[in-house]
């Protein structure tokens, strides 16, 4: 784990779980897997607090445990999972677009609590929805359960690994920590939940159930569910590919690509290099209802997509009117390259970007050739090349002419290694987010007194309005905050919003780069 990642994890843990959990978490990330007593000894915290912190971390899937030989249980932190905490708003918003408010609240509760049983989730969400509904209306449990089942069917929610059921009860002492297993097939099973009831009070639901036979009593399920982040990532990746196609070509072709991706959602695993081949007839049948393009037009679009130099779509055969696949890895590589190009352009200017694209295209190119091909005067070209080299966007490849590697008799070729440039950029992104968070915390701390004052004033106004106060009194209270203070508050709010929005956007770049690096590493 790089220093930047550790710093970012520390900031995230501190913001979400407090300092004790942060201390333990960061210690585990730094030192790898450790048993309980060593953690307590090394961090200097009491055993009790370490246990509490580990409970919280394990509940949220940030730390896993394993029994090693001699019965020692060791805890290991998952640094990449901690970094996912940045993406929670995006997960929740995506569910909102797909499954509306109910789904949004379900995923929010699952993310906030780490893991929950289905009954607990359904209850919490129904209660929350009931609060926001008008008086008298209550949210039906069944509706929430249905949304939950739909989320499980599309794999956005999955079961957590649980203790395996043993046929014969263990005669000896049970192991110090259970080894959790999960059967692949059972990952998305949902228990038959027969929760009858409405959102408001549990008592009323029990009274309703009193007259019914025992079989229909609310059964509380015991296995936990968690949000399946990989599925969300798959969805984000598909979104990125579709919008890239829309930008490059037009709306119709992006719809075709979206249809193809939707058809392969469940059949293709998330780390496959390309989707299963789909025949043109199948695609035609599965196009959304609004799109009535003829078969020939569809075929033309598919041919165009397959011939595109970006190679998002490839043709893998001719049966069924033409078999087409989506090259997921190539698509991710193109997206990562586009990100790099855009960063170079925004940082160094469009001429630099031209040189960058040239080197990307030619793979290895000498300095003299760069000046010729890019049509940029020599001095400027050299300057730009060195700037990019010093920032590690490019690297040099030496080809010696003589065995003594004399510099005057060696070829120096400029090249762009996309993988290492992507890693460098990712590292920079982590640093930027850490800076953004720190700055936001600093701004909030600076104005803490003012924020508290404004909160108190708001509370007073709210209570006075509830008890029915006159306009003049409310005015008086509002004037407790002077005009310059109000302006200060406005500036603070604007700055904090900007910093937060920047965090969210940098996280989008992080997602692209991480997906690309992950799929490239898998391929090797």
């Amino acid at each position: 784990m790089t220093q930047a990642e550790i710093k970012l994890c520390s900031l995230l843990l501190q913001e979400h779980f407090g300092e004790i959990v942060e201390k333990i978490g960061v210690h585990l990330i730094r030192t790898g897997s450790q048993p309980l007593r060593v953690i307590a000894h090394d961090t200097g915290t009491s055993l009790d607090q370490v246990k509490k912190a580990l409970c919280v971390l394990v509940q949220h899937n940030l730390v896993s445990y394993q029994v090693h030989k001699r019965g020692v249980v060791e805890y290991e932190a998952q640094c990449s999972r901690v970094l996912r905490m940045l993406r929670y708003p995006r997960y929740i918003y995506t569910t909102k677009t797909l499954y509306s408010d109910t789904g949004e609240l379900i995923v929010e509760e699952l993310l906030l609590n780490g893991k929950l049983t289905m009954s607990a989730v359904v209850k919490k969400v129904a209660d929350r929805l009931t609060e926001t509904m008008e008086d008298g209306k209550t949210m039906d449990y069944a509706e929430v359960s249905n949304t939950f089942v739909r989320l499980a069917d599309t794999h956005f929610v999955q079961r957590c690994p649980s203790v395996p059921t043993t046929e014969n009860s263990d005669p000896g002492p049970p192991p110090p920590a259970p080894t959790l297993v999960i059967n692949e097939k059972d990952m998305y099973l949902v228990p038959k939940l027969s929760l009858i009831g409405k959102g408001k009070r549990r008592r009323s639901s029990d009274e309703d159930a009193a007259g019914e036979p025992k079989a229909k009593r609310p059964k509380y399920t015991t296995d936990n569910k968690e949000a399946n982040l990989d599925r969300f990532h798959q969805h984000f990746r598909d979104q990125a590919i579709v919008s890239a196609v829309a930008n490059r070509m037009d709306q119709t072709s992006s719809e075709i690509v979206r249809t193809m991706l939707r058809m392969s959602e469940i059949t293709t695993s998330s780390s496959a290099p390309f989707t299963q081949p789909l025949s043109s007839n199948e695609i035609f049948r599965s196009l959304p209802v609004g799109y009535n393009i003829s078969k020939q037009v569809l075929d033309q679009y598919l041919t165009l997509l397959a011939d595109d130099p970006l190679e998002f779509v490839g043709k893998s055969g001719d049966s069924g009117g033409g078999m087409y696949v989506i090259n997921l890895h190539k698509a991710l590589a193109s997206l990562a390259t586009a990100t790099l190009e855009s960063v170079v352009q925004e940082r160094f200017g469009s001429r630099c970007a031209r040189i960058f694209r040239l080197v990307l295209q030619k793979k290895h190119i000498e300095q003299k050739q760069v000046e010729d091909f890019a049509m940029i005067p020599a001095k400027e070209a050299k300057d730009m090349l060195y700037k990019m080299l010093s920032e590690n966007f490019m690297s040099l490849q030496e080809i010696p002419k003589t065995p003594d590697h004399a510099p005057s008799r060696t070829f120096y070729l400029y090249t762009v290694n996309i993988l290492s440039a992507a890693r460098m950029l990712l590292h920079r992104c982590y640093k930027s987010i850490a800076n953004l968070i720190e700055r936001r915390q600093f701004e909030t701390k600076e104005n803490k007194r003012l924020l508290e004052k404004s909160q108190r004033v708001e509370a007073i106004i709210a209570s006075m309005q509830a008890t029915g106060a006159e306009e003049a009194q409310l005015q008086e209270i509002e004037e407790m905050i002077t005009a310059p203070e109000r302006q200060q508050l406005e500036t603070l709010k604007r700055n904090v919003n900007k910093l937060d929005a920047s965090e969210i956007q940098v996280d989008e770049t992080i997602f692209l780069l991480e997906s690309y690096i992950e799929c490239t590493m898998k391929r090797q």
């Binding site: 309980l36 708003p89 008592r203």
Partner: protein, 206 residues
């Protein structure tokens, strides 16, 4: 040989022309201090994306931040004892529910590993069915919570002194308890009734 332009003159091992400097001595000054912390950039950053989605995510993020602070998972650092306890502190305490991970305590383990050994859950379920047969609808839930609460309290205690016998004893006690809200120990010592409960009473005793 060919590169020696006189004694003491520096000769570069590479062709200086290739780097971009002509064969003069107009090399740039040596930099003696680190680059500035916030250098001026020629190209200003692109403005942030705006839109309905982005605004919603922003509001969500800020809400989540606030919500996480109130969740029981947020463990507050215990503050140091202050010399003078401020009066207003009493009224600013935030109510936070205590979260204890579900699952009975491990029997002999030194660490509070999370897990749900199926045997104890089966016991709990069996007891729930028994209590159902007794015909208490609401109270069985409360009992269950009480049972969980007592189980966890005993988990929080010393792990080294776990005895199976002690567990069973506690279990039996819970089972035999009557379904009411009175704690059994209140009325055990008839003599001392009244004298013990003076500690936290706010009203005056007549």
């Amino acid at each position: 040989m060919a590169g020696n332009k006189g004694r003491g003159r520096a000769a570069y091992t590479f062709n200086i022309e290739a780097v971009g400097f002509s064969k003069g001595e107009k090399l740039p000054d040596v930099v003696l201090k680190p680059p500035p912390l916030f250098p001026d950039t020629d190209y200003k950053p692109v403005p942030l994306k705006t839109g309905e989605g982005e605004e919603y995510m922003l509001a969500l993020k800020q809400e989540l931040r606030e919500t996480m602070k109130r969740m029981p998972y947020f463990i507050e650092t215990p503050e140091e004892r202050q010399d003078i306890e401020r009066y207003s502190k009493r009224y600013m305490k935030v109510y936070k529910e205590e979260w204890i991970p579900a699952g009975p305590k491990p029997k002999k383990a030194k660490d509070a590993g999370k897990g749900t050994p199926l045997t104890n859950t089966e016991d709990v379920l069996k007891k729930m069915e028994e209590l159902e047969k007794r015909g208490d609808g609401e109270k069985s839930d409360e009992e269950n919570e009480e049972k969980e609460g007592s189980k966890e309290k005993s988990k929080e205690g010393d792990d080294d002194d776990d005895d199976d016998a002690a567990e069973q004893e506690e279990y039996d006690e819970e089972e035999q308890e009557e379904e009411n809200d009175y704690i059994n120990s209140y009325f055990e010592d008839g003599d001392d009734f009244g004298a013990d409960s003076d500690d936290n009473m706010d009203e005056a005793t007549y």
